[in-house]
């Protein structure tokens, strides 16, 4: 018998606040960091922040949907990591840099 969420020691709000903080950190890293790998990790951070709120809601409402969604997100994140890391590797091979501002030849 699962615990009654109303009696849970950690209220839903706390999960959501944590999720928001993690997401904001991700956004900040995404915008302000200049190393591609750090930017990449920031994206992962945002994805997992969202996962956290999915799981929290899922637990709160006793519904499995949120779990499924978070699995989807994890699959996408894994795929993205594979492709993204490959791209980063190639960029580094060709340009000998990981500074995001120096990779800007794709423009008008």
């Amino acid at each position: 018998m699962p615990a009654n969420p109303l009696n849970s020691p950690v209220p839903l709000n706390w999960y959501l606040i944590l999720s928001a903080i993690l997401f904001a950190l991700g956004v900040a890293g995404f915008i302000f960091r200049r190393n591609i790998i750090t930017v990449f990790m920031s994206i992962e951070l945002m994805l997992n922040a969202v996962n956290l709120s999915f799981i929290a809601f899922s637990y709160q409402f006793r519904q499995v949907d949120g779990h499924i969604y978070s699995f989807f997100v994890m699959v996408v994140a894994a795929a993205e990591a594979a492709v993204g890391l490959a791209i980063i590797l190639t960029v580094f091979k060709n340009r000998a840099t990981l500074m995001i501002d120096e990779v800007n030849s794709m423009k008008y």
Binding site: R34, D101, K107, Y108
Partner: protein
């Protein structure tokens, strides 16, 4: 009875020769081209024998072509006696001309192309005469126009030939415009295009109620007929159409296609007889065309032009015939004319062929010595068209003239005068070509049997074709014409007078023609220049149209308005794009900033409108 096989065979010939003929040897092209028409002719004969006396119309329905509301248009072929006659003329004369073309076109380029077009023409012409409704007839009607255009412009490297083709096509468009309006009106009035339904409905209409609409419909049909059958005011394309190879002139511009207007009028007799005003218009147009074209024919020096104006003139006779209500006489003349005019053109072609392309009568003369068969057969045709007693022209032309006399005597007198002129100019051409001394520089020779054979058959038909009593055959469809032996003999006598005058002017006293031409100089010039009709049309219609198209339609509307809109849109897009593309900086962190900014805007907007629900 598989009527569909009749037009389908030439269509197959067209497809085979048109698609693969380039690689075929000439003999194989001949097999498909002539063979398909021969089979078609044989099938016509077999069908007609099988159908017997055709007391009633025999109809075959294949499928429904257009079904819209109450309107139901099918692909139906039908044979009645009128169609039977037309089928025999088209396939019979067509076959002879195909055979003749084998000899005539032997040394020409584009051999397979010529026969492919000729077969395509046969297909459309047969669709035209077999059609059981106005729309299908119109398909054939337009198709023969297309083939006419293709064949007039057959020598496509020659500017004058392509111009003549364009002229024929465009002038015919004017006529077809009238025809299509007539078809629309018929749909609106009768709710059907099927001949039987339309004619039954028209017969049942009371005179007062029907007069207005039927007159409008028939006048519009007449516009179409004047275009296709080269009547005033749209006859100008036919003389120019002689730019095509001579067998084409014989088949399309003498024997078959140009008679489509007469056929259509006779087919629509039920409508025309209910519209007396149109009937008078038809008769007057026919008579005027017959007369004026004959006067022009008097002075032409190009042998094909003489016969071209003669064709216009004879078509005028047919219109006179149908206009005075003698539909069967008109069809009779259509048939005999197909024989002798095809012969005249094919004979002229043999002469041109024998002289290596010379068409000017002034460069001929004394050809009798060199080409006896051609001369003799042409002589037969000339006798027939002059209405020499007991030749084919004698019967049919006099049937028309007698009917005209019954309608209004003055029409008869003008017609007789025209008959005299016809005899004169045809024999003028014959005497100029075949008697006297040879004036040209080529080496005349007789044509091969493949050309003279059809000539001889047509000569027999020209002499004896009048004994095929068409009015008797068509008795059930049209009221039979009146008979008047005295008038018939009188017009024949006028024809003989014309022949005699031609002999006097061009054989007995050679100088007489020139001195006569000088004594009526102004009139002669007027006739020689075809009454300047081409020049008047050029100034009154063509020039304003071309100028208007150039300044208003081209420079104004097309280059100004339409190009302006299109180019303007493009230009504005480029200006906007020049600014917007700066967003695409290549800097990843700026993209990131845009994404965040966008998300914030979306979130704010959602919050502003009360959140997601």
């Amino acid at each position: 009875m598989a009527l569909w096989l009749i037009p389908l065979l030439p269509l197959l010939g067209f497809l085979v020769n048109g698609l693969f003929g380039r690689r075929f040897p000439k003999a194989l092209v001949n097999v498909f081209a002539v063979g398909s028409v021969a089979l078609s002719f044989a099938w016509v004969v077999k069908t007609l024998l099988g159908l017997g006396s055709l007391e009633t119309k025999y109809i075959e329905h294949y499928y429904t072509w257009i079904q819209s509301g109450m309107l139901n248009i099918g692909v139906d072929f039908a044979v009645d006696r009128l169609t039977a006659i037309m089928l025999m003329i088209v396939t019979g004369v067509g076959l002879l001309i195909h055979i003749y073309s084998v000899g005539y076109m032997e040394h020409e380029g584009g051999y397979y192309r010529f026969f492919a077009y000729l077969n395509l023409f046969m297909f459309f012409m047969l669709v035209l005469v077999l059609a059981q409704n106005y729309l299908l007839l119109f398909v054939g009607w337009e198709g023969v126009g297309l083939c006419s255009y293709l064949l007039i412009g057959f020598y496509l490297t020659e500017q004058f030939a392509t111009n003549a083709g364009n002229k024929a096509f465009i002038v015919n468009r004017i006529g077809d415009f009238g025809f299509s309006l007539a078809v629309f009106l018929i749909v609106r009035q009768f709710g059907s295009l099927d001949f039987n339904k339309v004619f039954d409905a028209a017969r049942g209409m009371p005179v007062e109620a029907g007069a207005g609409i039927l007159t409008t419909i028939t006048l519009l049909l007449l516009v179409g007929a004047t275009g296709k059958s080269a009547q005033i005011p749209l006859y100008v394309w036919l003389p120019d159409a002689m730019a095509g190879p001579t067998p084409v002139s014989a088949l399309i511009h003498a024997a078959t296609m140009v008679t489509a207007g007469v056929y259509m009028t006779a087919r629509s007799a039920a409508l025309f007889t209910k519209a007396p005003i149109t009937m008078d218009t038809v008769a007057v147009i026919g008579l005027a065309t017959a007369f004026f074209a004959a006067t022009i024919g008097l002075a032409q020096t190009d042998i094909k032009k003489v016969f071209a104006y003669s064709t216009v003139s004879q078509l005028g006779y047919m219109f006179l015939g149908v206009g005075v209500g003698a539909f069967s006489a008109g069809i009779w003349h259509l048939m005999t004319h197909a024989f002798f005019k095809a012969l005249l053109f094919l004979g002229a072609g043999a002469v041109i062929h024998g002289l290596h392309g010379e068409q000017d009568l002034r460069q001929m003369g004394g050809l009798w010595k060199y080409m006896k068969i051609t001369g003799a057969t042409l002589f037969c045709a000339s006798l027939a068209i002059s209405g020499f007693p007991f030749t084919s022209g004698f019967f049919s032309k006099d049937a028309i003239l007698v009917a005209a006399y019954a309608r209004a005597p003055w029409m008869y007198w003008v017609g007789v005068l025209t008959a005299g002129m016809t005899a004169f100019y045809v024999f003028r051409a014959w005497f100029l070509a075949f008697t006297g001394e040879y004036r040209g520089h080529a080496h005349p020779h007789e044509s091969p049997l493949v050309m003279t054979g059809p000539l001889m058959i047509l000569a027999l038909l020209s002499l004896g074709g009048g004994f095929i009593n068409v009015p008797h055959i068509l008795e059930g469809m049209f009221t039979e014409g009146v008979e008047n032996q005295g008038l018939a003999w009188f017009s024949a006598a006028v024809g003989l007078l014309g022949i005699f005058l031609a002999w006097l002017f061009y054989v007995a006293k050679r100088g007489l023609a020139d001195s006569f031409a000088k004594s009526v100089g102004g009139l002669y010039n007027l006739v020689l220049n075809k009454y300047f009709v081409d020049e008047v049309y050029e100034a009154a219609v063509v020039e304003p149209l071309v100028e208007g198209s150039r300044t208003v339609l081209w420079r104004g509307i097309d280059a100004g308005l339409i190009d302006g809109i299109v180019n303007g849109v493009g230009k504005r897009s480029r200006t906007a794009g020049a600014v917007l593309r700066l967003i695409q900086s290549g800097n990843i962190r700026s993209y990131a900033a845009w994404v965040v900014l966008g998300s914030i805007v979306v979130l704010v907007a959602i919050g502003f409108y009360g959140g997601l629900r």
